[in-house]
Symmetry: C2
Subunit: 773 residues, 2 copies
Amino acid sequence: MSDDCAEKTVETELEIEGRKVKVRAQMERQLPPWGKTTLVGKSLRRVDGPDKVTGAARYTHDVQLPGMLYGKVLRSPHARARVAELGLSAAAKLPGVLAVLGPGDVRGVRLGGREVLSAEASYAGEEIAALAATDEETAEEALSLIRVRWEPLPHVLEPEDAMAPGAPALQPGGNVLGGGFGPQTPGKPEVYERGDAPAALEAAEVTLERIYETPAAQHACLETHGAVAAWDGDGLTVWESTQGVFFVRSALCEALGLPASRVRVLCPFMGGGFGSKNSADRYTLLAALLARRSGRPVRMVLSRREDFEAGAYRPASRQQLAIGLTRRGRIVALTSRAVNPVGSALEGHYFGSCVGPVQDFYSCANVRTENYAILTSSPPPSAFRAPGHVQGAFALEQLVDEAADELGLDPVRLRLANLSANDPDSGLPYASNGLASCLRLGAKAIGWDSRKPPRTKTGRFRSGLGVAIATWGAGGGPPAVAQIVLHEDGSVVVLTGACDLGTGTRTVMTQIAAEELGVAVSAVLVANGDTRTTPYCLPSFGSLTVASTGPAVRLAAAEVKRQLLDAASPILGAPASSLLVMRGKVRHAVTGKSVAVASIAASLPARMIVGTSQRGPNPDGVVLASFSAQFAQVEVDCRFGTVRVKRFVSAHDCGRVLNPATWSSQIQGGVLQGIGYALLEQRTRDPGTGRQLNAGLLDYKIPTVLDSPPEIEVIDAAPPYPANNIGAKGSGEPPIIPVAAAIANAVANATGRRLRTAPITPARLLAALSAEP
Amino acid sequence: MSDDCAEKTVETELEIEGRKVKVRAQMERQLPPWGKTTLVGKSLRRVDGPDKVTGAARYTHDVQLPGMLYGKVLRSPHARARVAELGLSAAAKLPGVLAVLGPGDVRGVRLGGREVLSAEASYAGEEIAALAATDEETAEEALSLIRVRWEPLPHVLEPEDAMAPGAPALQPGGNVLGGGFGPQTPGKPEVYERGDAPAALEAAEVTLERIYETPAAQHACLETHGAVAAWDGDGLTVWESTQGVFFVRSALCEALGLPASRVRVLCPFMGGGFGSKNSADRYTLLAALLARRSGRPVRMVLSRREDFEAGAYRPASRQQLAIGLTRRGRIVALTSRAVNPVGSALEGHYFGSCVGPVQDFYSCANVRTENYAILTSSPPPSAFRAPGHVQGAFALEQLVDEAADELGLDPVRLRLANLSANDPDSGLPYASNGLASCLRLGAKAIGWDSRKPPRTKTGRFRSGLGVAIATWGAGGGPPAVAQIVLHEDGSVVVLTGACDLGTGTRTVMTQIAAEELGVAVSAVLVANGDTRTTPYCLPSFGSLTVASTGPAVRLAAAEVKRQLLDAASPILGAPASSLLVMRGKVRHAVTGKSVAVASIAASLPARMIVGTSQRGPNPDGVVLASFSAQFAQVEVDCRFGTVRVKRFVSAHDCGRVLNPATWSSQIQGGVLQGIGYALLEQRTRDPGTGRQLNAGLLDYKIPTVLDSPPEIEVIDAAPPYPANNIGAKGSGEPPIIPVAAAIANAVANATGRRLRTAPITPARLLAALSAEP
């Protein structure tokens, strides 16, 4: 039951209650890398595939509880308006309605600094009132009985309007904020600087300055946001479609004043998050509040329209970039001035920084970025797969191509020439870096050598090749704890707080545990996403799940194995060091004498072996990142302005690939999402009301299988990665980062026209084609 | 996350796969006893009281799942009969019926060695077919549509008939078995012998030989037996009203061929077990099988009638005892020949040995017992609170009183003179023994000195005093594991596999954890009874829960505290040994400098502290037992033959009393159950059909509050108990053991008539009163 005694400890400095103190963190013995593996690295089928296909897998949307009510929310139809009067009584009297809440009923219940129901709407779709009824139809009818007298207030949707003199101030400090995490100085951008970029630009042999624009894009998860809340006495249980049960719990505890022990958040299965489901949202709290008020469980699941209108999104950007180079193609200066419209609030909402790629893609001594967050009358944005980097790469990776054109250099060679062996920001070396391999292998796979300049292309259908790269911090790290229980019959349960967003976490953790323990995959069950019974875990965000939880699972398995071999040693009459576990038996390495794992477990006083281990901290003095180079071959229909991606090659360094099948799915999904971002997706709103015009999958176009190239070729270009015990880095976010830029570069290569605004719609492409080149 | 490194290991010899091997068991550092306690020893109110009173506590009977079906069982109306034809099709065709199972559908699914549905009934009430329907009424109607052609077989209900020559053989080896656990020799009793009892009896100055009879008594739990089963893919979740979720899991895994990891058994709350709910029963398996067949969850909850008819019971006994003494009252010989009718099967059914008290209550060098188990056409019995000892004490403790009468000695003095400092069987010393104190303090409390001989009593209402004692092995022991999680806000969850039968386990474990950790009771939540998420635990039987799980909880709390103080040490700039936890803060013992527990937990890389510890083995060379002496004052109504218990004193040595309130409830409940056994309860059956005549609470009389004396005085007579780290022994079973004998002895003291058959009904008492004395 105990961990290995030979722990390393590391010291970190923390500020605790105002004191700076050194805190010793235990660090489990890091294991040596695996030699030959039998399960890790194999394309094991998803262990939860059958459950998903048969419907046995229960998502939050599937949760049904006896007496469960259906919660609905009244949302503002105005982009900005005060609630002068709110009449809830007719709704409350409707038979079947068991709880109605207005802002006055939930005063002081706050999420991200704001009241959970608002008496002043700051965007169309904001939550004003909520109710719960015995069925959805009654709840809808009751919503229609709520009487609101609105006092409209002036609103502003576009950042330029919000920054203009005389614009209505959406917050007391004004509408202009810095775009980062740090303390805000109203009116000032967040500035990053290394070297002297303005001077270097001035002195550069070649300079280019361009403006790029990206749209507000929405996550459109297969499963919309939703929660089911049920009270047992003073204890609250919440099923939430979330990436992180512990973040949901923290938010609920803070908002409702409950101890962590009394709040149980569960998410065994969920249908996509992409950064939009990192914590609780207002609907979660409203479900809990309505459940408390009514004494019944309450299901609050957003409709697709609500999920779009009041849900999360990647904010739009307007990025003014400049690059300075030598004639031979050495980048000497980079600047970016970026504007991000961030809706009605910044507090508690992370949307990423689109200036990141300018700072960290290339070796460049002189960099300056200015990043603005502009308040508008929109819902707040959220993280969305590689937040910031997707927008930033669209700009930077086109600018680099434009510079290559200007200099008459090959875009792949120009990139190779400017890659950095060290992290350009900190100057520290990368723990591993396969970016050059990604470029070389990807270029070979796509047939880069056959790439021809646009002037050689004529006719209605023109083909082009494009490239773009990505760097993404994806090393994970603590907190990452796993617990493994070997039961009396030799079956194994892996307990992890990690939510499986559909990426295959359960499958990969099964492989890691089975590999290390020496048991069959079928003997292992992963039980995950339950704050009551699984160890603490960060949300599945930041490409960290494999790199954080994976090493913890391996350590926990090793700890279980250690106890198992210790217990087997007297039975086999041999030292534990001479024993190994193979196919469910502990076996003497030489004599072959063996005893079943189940027999050992059943013989122990505790009847089970429990191993709990936490992943050690990452090594000092190195930077951990995943890398990608992607290549698109497009065909432009010059008559209709449509772009078809004919081939796509996605080359990655994310360390060891634990499961090629789930990994390829992850990459291909990211590429497809990037294709949508490049060609299809943008939130559009009515300027008069601020209401979204395409709040549904009929009007908001995400790519279908018809928009996909026949094949998305995935290449593993990873050198060995020594920084954790499984040798793997994250690969959740890298696949989407360069896609749109690669496609835009391919379109430019096909047509000679530079499309600097995403998405590259037929209207924009036709306009560009009809303009002078 | 790791346990203390300073583990002790102990070696035990086990037989594993045919080899005898020494197995090292880790033994956590045993903690020194508590000094002054602030929470342990206090009458903390039940922590789950509010949930139980408000209905928030969810019992198995309360489980409702969407789509859940109601399962029902067709039972044999015959005491012994073959199913010649079984017509299930009409039932299967009834709308609303979604699954029907007959013996042929579940062939090979076995429990306790027998098929789960039987094509040959061996008792009235045996399971023949099962079905599940959308509601109970439809299920009942469907049962009535099942057509059975029965071929009755000869049955036998009474053990004398079953033992008689020419009796129908209920099993191939005949109807006579030994009454113990060991290998059976058909026709032979289980024999225990020390010294030479026949010779010592022969030589004794005084000998008495008497026959005592006890009835089949039923558990009559507030919550009847029941289970709800639901499949998720190939995983099975079962809510069961059980004393032991892990035993239920093992039975399900074995019967259904499932790995332990895929079967989750839950029992957060349950309404009484008393030994009848130690594992899965046929209804559990039928619920699982019907759920698999129908693809829907199935609730299978026994009606009160089924709970009586096919449920568990304490077997009747016929005990022929002899005692030999010196004239001065020294017991020199004891023999018992006991016959226990055990229904249709012995395999897998533990009913206890009624010869135990003869072996272990008194210091006596010459003891011989013969114990028979006799097959009859009845359901199998089960453990029932102090199995065997209740029957045995009824006999032995009356015989000792009869001997005292014969010798003209005081029954308390006679007992005191024959107590043993060592366990009479093994000769090893008891770790602690307060039996003499129990006798002395109890005698004082009841006013024993005022006891008068029966000849002094006249008139319709006659009062009498009686005494009886008990010894019960109640030291618990491994396996006993607990896990404690300190969450990021300082709240604490105690994870234990132990089921709380209503005895207060949750409350007492809260006290132990809060005491050791130095946090408030309100900060602690006990999450229990879940095979997926709590450590392994034996069922709550054998009076072991406090003595087994309690020390494990204290060790786990100490482990959490150790990690907490280690983490606090650098923050407070002081060695961990100088720190203590008080009221949610870690405090320097001298300077008073402090930091909140929550701050420390939140600062740790793992965001929580997890302590997992297992209770060490019991010390060698000593015997662990609880002791009790009980005193009844009765008033006999000689006109109607009724007995009223006017006062009752129950004195106990079960080590440290952790919570006087829950402990007293436990004792009082045991005494009341004993009063029922003494005066009211007996299963009665129709000899022709074998069907029970009183299968319901209207006809099967358990005591009500009107049958209770106004007060049941509970006395703690425990000396310090050093054998585990909480100083507590078990007290679940001792309270019932001597009750019936104490009452019978009091009736004899009141009337001069010896009632050797329980229950002491008015008919029996009036018959005794009208007979010659």
